[in-house]
């Protein structure tokens, strides 16, 4: 045991100095889901399957818009799986903290460019 201890004097510590050093997540990491509003048909399947009611839909059909509650989301990926037109993608973003509830609601609106409200960075 002593040898192992002394070996560590020469090794670099195993800690990552977050936030200065970050380890990128692996491909396929279940981060924040995003909706591609150009493909969405408003079928409401994602809304019905979400286990924690994190998806809120406003409107119906081809005019439906989304509010995604990050504070309720489990990041389970069930919405991505069930969407029939592959409009939902799980990105690899995991730094999702915010100082108030308003920053945890992401809106996906239908505009020409199908832009989304960016996450407020502190």
């Amino acid at each position: 045991m002593v040898r192992e201890l002394l070996k560590h004097l020469l090794k670099r510590p195993a800690t990552l100095k977050y936030p200065f050093e970050k380890k990128p997540p692996f491909k396929g990491f279940r981060g924040r889901p995003i909706w591609d509003m150009k493909l969405c048909t408003g079928c409401e399947l994602c809304y019905k399957v979400c286990p924690s009611e994190a998806i809120e839909m406003i409107g119906k059909g081809l005019e439906a818009e989304f509010k995604h509650h990050l504070d309720r989301c489990l990041f389970c990926g069930q919405c991505e799986e069930v969407c029939p037109v592959n409009a939902i993608t799980m990105t690899e973003e995991y730094e999702l903290a915010s100082y108030d509830r308003a920053g945890m609601i992401i809106e996906f609106k239908r505009e020409e460019k199908a832009s989304e409200k960016p996450i407020p960075i502190r």
């Binding site: 201890l5 560590h8 510590p13 800690t15």
Partner: protein
């Protein structure tokens, strides 16, 4: 001409006095934490000050600003006195250790015995601190501290006497003088004594493997459970000063102390040797698991005490002078 009284007063206050020892206490806590972390493959304090040097100081300041609660059932007088004693006894003992030369600010024949007395008082203070905060965990912690004292007290006293017998004096300053005069350090003259001394110091400082009175996973924080705010700040500072005391005792009694009478060299040697002693104590801390109190006392009486007696006999027979 500055009157001598003022010089002495400044010496006691600043250097080598309270401020110096307190600064040293913070520094050695940093060394301890950083080295402990390095052995465990992680960083220690990192961001406060260069490489985290100011972290112990920052912790102290933070604790001073927190709320200081005294439990309703506690014995108020003893509860308030215990942290003050925890800080003042080691600080007083530190004046007996030579730092800037071959004599300490306070040195008289028999100050080694005075030092042992102060160690006992510290242990009694811990017990009083645990007893006066009327809380099950504190009681168990205080009782365990008293138990532990039963274990390490006698071997430690015996091995401290080893160098005293060899140097024919009961004054720490004279022991240091003997070592530098004869160019021989007691670490190789009395190695058994050195090993036992280090182990007993681990028990006295409540370091793993002997941090039984304060076992976090068993009894919350042991005897210091109920202390918070300023009192806890003083207790923690007292523990750090105890670490300085332990390291400087190892230096003075076994490693030759400040080896010259030149001020600058003396301080340099002193700091170097005490830092090495702290590193040794930290390595031992990282190496072991915690003992149970009955195993500790059993081990102390079955192994440490006979070895200590053996060491003293060896010294009397001439081996180690």
């Amino acid at each position: 001409m500055v009157p001598e009284g003022i010089v002495a007063f400044l010496e006691i206050l600043l250097f080598p006095g309270f401020l110096f020892f307190i600064a040293l206490a913070f520094f050695y806590e940093w060394v301890d934490r950083k080295f402990f972390a390095k052995l465990q493959n992680r960083y220690g304090p990192l961001y406060t000050g260069p490489s985290g040097l100011l972290q112990p100081f920052a912790d102290f300041i933070k604790l001073l600003s927190k709320e200081d609660i005294t439990p309703k059932a506690a014995d108020k007088f003893m509860f308030s006195c215990a942290p003050i004693f925890m800080l003042s006894f080691p600080l007083l003992a530190l004046f007996l250790v030579p730092v800037t030369g071959l004599t300490a600010p306070i040195s008289f024949e028999g100050d080694l015995i005075f030092l042992m007395f102060l160690f006992t008082l510290i242990a009694v203070t811990i017990f009083i601190a645990g007893w006066s905060s009327v809380n099950r965990f504190s009681t168990v912690g205080g009782v365990r501290a008293a138990f532990q004292m039963l274990g390490y007290e006698i071997p430690m006293t015996l091995v401290m006497v080893g160098p005293a017998i060899a140097a024919r004096t009961l004054s720490i300053s004279q022991i240091v003088g003997w070592q530098s005069h004869n160019a021989a350090w007691f670490i190789w003259l009395q190695p058994i004594g050195f090993a036992i001394f280090v182990l007993c110091l681990l028990a006295e400082l409540e370091f793993i493997p002997f941090d039984i009175p304060e076992a976090e996973t068993e009894i919350v924080a042991g005897w210091s459970t109920e202390f918070s705010g300023r009192k806890l700040a003083l207790i923690r500072l007292g523990k750090d000063v105890e670490l300085v005391l332990a390291a400087s005792l190892i230096t003075s009694l076994f490693l030759g102390g400040p080896n010259s009478s030149l001020s600058i060299l003396a301080i340099g040697f002193f700091l170097l040797k005490t830092t090495l002693a702290v590193v040794l104590l930290t390595t031992l801390r990282a190496l072991f698991a915690r003992f149970r109190v009955d195993q500790m006392i059993g081990g102390a009486w079955k192994y440490l005490l006979p070895l200590a007696i053996l060491q003293v006999i060896l010294v009397q027979l001439g081996l180690g002078r």
